[in-house]
Subunit: 371 residues, 4 copies
C-alpha cells in the first residue's frame, strides 16, 4: 500500500505564494482501528522528525495498515524557510515573537452543558458528535469576522486535521537534547510503549501545544462524564516526541525512532504487524520537577553535563568563562546544582546573556514500567 | 532643582558588559505628596517616550516639585540596541520571542489571608506594609534558586522600583499610530486629566504589562477590603501612554506630551505649579471593543484610513495589491469594515502575510468627560 | 493589448517550494523598436516599484506598444517574504549578508579579443552576437560545476532576461528618501527624459548592481570599438530609479512615476503614443560627490533636514538626543555640515549606533538640461 | 609575569553604552624580540578563540616572555552580543550585512613613491617609518570628515593595534569545521610551525581580512624593494587560525591549540621557552583549489563526509531529503563530487535553500614539510 500525497494550504506569503504542507495519507483496512495523525517540524529548526517520518512511511508502506494514517512533514513552511544567519529562526513567528507551538486553540467548551445535550448518545455516537464539535470550533475560529493571525491559521488548520484522529503524535526536537517525550498524566501507562528513556508527565490541562490541544477537550469531557457517573475513558491519545537535537538529519537514528513509533502503533492495532518497543529502563518526571536553570551570569559556556545521564549534586553542570575577568576568581566559574538530576537539554549557543535558559533538567525521577 | 543621575543594572550581555539604565531622581519637598515613577522605551523601537522624558525633566527642573519623581528613559538597553536590518528589533527577546512588556510579575498574593494578618493597621501603615510585601516579592523572584530569564530580570527589576511609587506611567508608542492611552476601569475618571484623545479602558486584571503589574495587586486588595466592609480606595494609579509612532523622535511633539503628563501630575499635587490638560474631545473604548483586523489575504498594502479619525462602515480601510493576480479581479482588493470605528494604529510594513495584524480599531466608542 | 503572464523560477526554499516571480510580457508591433525590461522589489522592503509597475501595465495595455516589454514585479520573493519583527529584512541574503543588488555578474569579457573575432559583422549582427555572448555567459555561470549561491542564482537569472532588452529599468526606493535616479555618465543626456529631480551620475564601470550589469559590457565594447576607429554607440540603456521610501505603497504617486517612465519609453519609441516628461528643474551629482554621513556618536536621532531640498552649510541636519548625558552639554547635539548639500535619504530608524549611515547627501550639484 | 588589563573602545551602542574590548598586555624583556598581536571572536559565534586565549595567557604568565604580547579576546562586542533565536548572529553587521572580517583597511600606499622618499633609511628605521605610516593611515581613516561605518571603526581600530606587531594571529572558527589555517604564499614555510593539519595558501593580495590587512602592505613594500634591487624580507607575519566549530567552548581542546600557537611563538623567539609543534602530517591547498560546493537543490541535509578526512571521488558528501518528493526518485539524493577532496567545513544548519554553501573542500592538496 502506498501513501497518497496531497497538499494542505496553511497561509500565504507577502508575495502571494501559498504556504503549503505536503500531506500523506493511507486509508486503513479497518474503519474501527484507531486513526493516526503525525506531524513534524512545526518549529523550523527541528527537522529530524521529517527523517523519522520518511523512515516511518517507508516501513508503513510494507506493513498491514488497519487504521487511517495521516502524516504531515514540514508542517510549518514559514518557520522552516526563515533563516537568520546560518541557522533556522523557526521557533517563533518572526513578526510577533509568538511560539509556533503555543498557537493551538483552547475550545473552552462547556462540557457540562454539551454533555447534557448529548448524554443519550452511546459512546461511539457521542465521540463522533464531540469530534464534530471540535472540528466545527476550529472552522469557526478560522473564519471569524476579524480574521486570525498567521500563527493561529497554521495551528488551527493543523489542529482541525488532528481532531479527526484518535492518536496524535507531534514530532519535535530540543536545542541540544537527548530524546524525551511529553505524556499526559492520565495516559502515563502508554509512555513505555514508545522507545524513549525519559518522559515528562504533564498535567491534563491546556497549555497551548498540539498534544494538549488534541487530548484536553477529551479529557475534560471524560472527567465530567465520570463525575456524573458514566463510565468512559479518554478516547484520544496525544504525545509530543522530542527526538534529539535541532539542525540535524540522521537517517539511521530516524529508523530507530520510526521503529519506536511503530511499536506504539502496533500495540494500538493501527498496524496488524507485531512490533515491540525497545528494552530499556524508562524514567518519568512531573512537569513541576522539570527545572529550567538560567545562567546566573553572562559569559562563554562550556557545557559539561552529559545529556540523558544522571548528574549528582555538586558535579559540574557547565563552566562559564569570562575573559573580561581574567586574573580574578571570576575568570572561570563552575556551575553546580545542589540536587541530583538528569540534564535533558541545553541551550544551543556557547555564549549567553545573564538569564539565558542554560539547561533543562529532570529532578525527582521515578521509574516507568510497562504495564 | 536638578535631577540626580544614577544607574540601574538590569542584566549582563554575553561579553560581560552590564546592561545599565540611566535613572534620574528628584526628591520632592513633601513626603506626603504622591511619588511618581516614569519609564520609557521598554520596547526598543518606541523611542519617543525618551524625548518626552527629556522635555518633562527640563520642565520639572523649573517647577515646584512636591512628590518624589523617579524617571528611567532607555529602560530596555538590550531591546534598544538590537537591530535587524535598518530597524530596531526591540519588541521581544530575540532569543525567546517573549514580548518585553509581558514579563512583569503577577504576585498572586492571597489578599484575604494577607489582609487578615494586617487588618488592624490604619490605611497608611497598611499601604506601607503591602508595598513592602510587593517589593519583597519582586526581590524573592529575582533571587530564586533556578534563576530567572533575561526578560524577567529586566521587568521585575523595573517593577520593584515602580512599586515604590503611587503613580506609574509607562511610555510606549504604536507601530504607526495616533496617540492613545491605557487606563484601568476603576480609574477611568483620570483619563481626561491627560491630553490624549483616545483611551482604552482595560479590565482591572493582570495581563503581563507594567501598568497592570503596578495597579492590579492594589486593586485586588481594595476589592477585598471593600468586600469585607472597609472603606478603601486603590492608592496606586498606573497608565500606559502610546505616544504616536515608533522609530521617530520629535522634540516639539514631545513637549506637547510632556505638558500633558504635567497636567496629570499637577492635578495630583506632584508639582505645586498649576498645569491644565488640553481642551479636546476624548473618547473611551473597552478592551473587548478594541478590534484587531488581520490581513484576510497576503499582499502589498496601501494604508488608507486616517489614524485617529472616524472611519464609517463601508469606507476603505486599506487596499491590497497583488501583482501576481494582475489582470484578474484580485489584483487590487479594497478592505472595508461593516461597522464604524476609529483606526488607532496600523502595521509598520507595507507587505504582509495572510493573517498579519493590519489595523487595530476602536469600536463602540463613548465620550469621556472631565469629572 | 493585454500582458501575458508567466512565471520565472529563481530558486528553491528549504521546504522545496519553488521561488517564482510573476513575469509579464507584451510583444510589441515593431521588432525594430527597442525592447524593454523592468523589474522591481529586488530589495524586499522596496515595494513601491510594484505599484508603479501596476500603474504602468494598466497604461501600457491602453497604448500603442511598438517594442517588446517584459516586466517582473516582486523580483526577489525570498527577500520580500523575509520579515524580522514588523519590517521586511530584505536588503541582504539573511544567511550570508550579501546585498541582493550586488550579486549580478561581471562577465569580464576580453572585448579586444572578442571584437577581433567579430569585427566583420555589421552593427546589427554584432549586437546580436554580443547579446548572445552575454546570455550564454549567464547560462554558463548558472550551470557551473560547483553550483552558485542563492543570491547569484536570483541575480543572474534576472540578468539573463535583462540582457535580452535594449532598455533596462530597475525600480528601487531608499530607506526614507526623496526620488532620485542612477544614470551612467555616457548616457547622462537621458536623465531629463524621466521626471525625477535628482540624478546620480555614475561611472561606466561595474559595481555589482543590475543597471551596471546591463550597460557595462556594452560600454566596454563600445569604448574598444571607438578606440580602434569604428563608430558605434552604446546600444543598451540602463537606469536605477529610486522612487521614494521603502515600506510604502502609494497608488497615486505610483501613477505619477509610471507616467515618468512612459515619457522615456515614448521618447525611445517603445510606445507610439506621445508622453512628455514633467517640467521641473533637474540636478545631477557625480557619485564621488554623493556623501555618506555617518553618525559621529550613538543616540536617538531627530531627522531635521528636508529630503530633496537644499541644506545650507551650518543648518541643522539632525539632532542627537542622549538621555544618558542629561544635564551635560552632550544631552542634545546638533549635527551640521560645513558645505551646502541636498539631503537625498536618511536612515530608517530613529536610534543609531556610532557609525550608522545617517544621511546621504548630494554635493556639488549641477543643473541637467533636456537636450 | 602577569598580563596587564586595559580596555579598548571600538564604538558606541544606540543607548550610548560604549563598546569596549578587554585588552591584555605583557611587555617582553627584549625590545628586539618580535611583538605579537592576537585577537579572537571578530565573528560573534566563533568563541573558541577566547578559550584558546585563556589557556595561552595562563601559559604565557608562566613563561619567559621576550617580545611584547598584546591580546584581545571578545574583539567584536556588537557581534558577540547579537543573538537571533538561540544562536549568535555575529558574522555580519546586522544593519548592513557587511561581513565583520571584510572591513579592514586597504591602505593603497604608493610603495614606489614612498620608498623613494625613504630609501636611504636602514632596514630597522625603514620598518619603523613604514609602520608609522600604516598607523597614521588608520588614524586618518578613523577621523575622516564624513565619519566611518560601525564596522570600519571596529576593524580599523583593531588594525591600528595590529600594525604595531610583527606577528598577527586572528583566531576564528568555521561553522562546522575541522581545524585549518590561512597562510600567505610568501610565508608558507611557517605553516608547519603551527599544529594544524590543513593550510590554505592564500595569495599575497588584500581581500579584506585582518591577516591580509596586516601583511599585505609589507609584502607590497618588500616586492618593490626587491624589484629595485634591495634585499629585504617581509618583516611581518600574519595568520588566521580556524580552530574548529563555532558555538562551542572546549577548554581541553583550547589547551592543545594554545600549545600550537606557543610552538610558533617559541620558534620566533617571542618566548625563550622551547615549545615544539605537534608531529603530524600537514597539507596545503591553494585558495584557487578551495572549492565551495553549493546545494544544487533545496532540502534537508544529512552531512555525511567526515571533516578533515579524504573523500574519494564518488563517495557520498551528503544526502538531501525531500519529503515533498516522497515516493519519487527525488525523495533522497546522494551528493557526490567527481574528484578527490578533503572536506574542511560544512554549513551549520540541516535545512538549506538551493544555492546554500554546503561544503568547502580542499582539492589538489600537497604535503607541507617543516623546513
Amino acid at each position: 500500500m502506498k501513501f497518497k500525497q496531497s497538499s494542505l494550504t496553511v497561509g500565504e506569503l507577502a508575495t502571494g505564494h501559498g504556504l503549503s504542507v505536503p500531506l500523506f495519507h493511507i486509508a486503513g483496512k479497518d474503519s474501527q482501528a484507531p486513526k493516526v495523525f503525525i506531524q513534524a517540524n512545526v518549529h523550523g529548526a527541528e527537522v529530524q522528525g521529517n527523517a523519522v517520518i520518511f523512515q516511518l512511511m517507508k516501513r508503513l508502506e510494507q506493513m498491514d495498515v488497519q487504521g487511517d494514517v495521516t502524516i504531515l512533514p514540514l508542517a510549518n513552511p514559514l518557520g522552516i524557510n526563515q533563516k537568520s544567519g546560518e541557522f533556522t529562526l523557526g521557533r517563533f513567528d518572526p513578526i510577533t515573537g509568538v511560539n509556533w507551538n503555543r498557537e493551538y486553540l483552547d475550545h473552552q467548551i462547556d462540557v457540562a452543558s454539551w454533555y447534557q445535550r448529548h448524554c443519550e448518545l452511546d459512546d461511539k455516537a457521542l465521540i463522533a458528535a464531540y469530534r464534530a464539535e471540535l472540528i466545527a470550533s476550529c472552522d469557526a475560529h478560522l473564519n471569524q469576522q476579524w480574521g486570525v493571525t498567521t500563527g493561529k491559521r497554521l495551528a488551527v488548520t493543523l489542529q482541525q486535521l488532528a481532531h479527526q484522529a484518535d492518536i496524535v503524535i507531534d514530532l519535535h526536537t530540543g536545542p541540544k537534547s537527548c530524546k524525551h517525550m511529553y505524556c499526559p498524566e492520565y495516559d502515563v501507562s502508554s509512555a513505555p510503549l514508545f522507545s524513549i528513556a525519559y518522559t515528562l508527565v504533564i498535567p491534563n490541562e491546556f497549555g497551548g501545544a498540539m498534544d494538549e490541544a488534541a487530548f484536553c477537550p477529551w479529557w475534560q469531557l471524560t472527567e465530567h462524564m465520570n463525575a456524573v457517573g458514566r463510565d468512559f475513558q479518554v478516547p484520544v491519545a496525544a504525545f509530543t516526541l522530542e527526538l534529539g537535537s535541532q539542525e540535524l538529519i540522521d537517517l539511521e537514528d530516524a529508523l530507530t525512532d520510526a521503529h519506536g513509533i511503530l511499536a506504539y502503533l502496533s500495540h494500538r492495532g493501527v498496524v496488524a504487524d507485531k512490533v515491540e518497543p525497545a528494552q530499556m529502563p524508562r524514567y518519568g518526571c512531573y512537569l513541576k520537577d522539570y527545572k529550567k536553570y538560567h545562567a546566573p551570569t553572562a559569559g562563554l559556556v562550556e557545557y559539561k553535563a552529559r545529556l540523558g545521564h544522571i548528574l549528582y549534586s555538586g558535579e559540574t553542570l557547565a563552566n562559564v568563562l569570562r575573559l573580561d575577568r581574567f586574573g580574578t576568581n571570576e575568570e572561570l566559574t563552575e556551575l553546580v546544582l545542589n540536587q541530583d538530576c538528569v540534564p535533558i537539554l541545553h541551550f544551543a549557543s556557547a555564549s549567553v546573556y545573564q538569564g539565558t535558559e542554560l539547561y533543562k533538567v529532570m529532578t525527582n525521577l521515578f521509574e516507568l514500567y510497562t504495564s
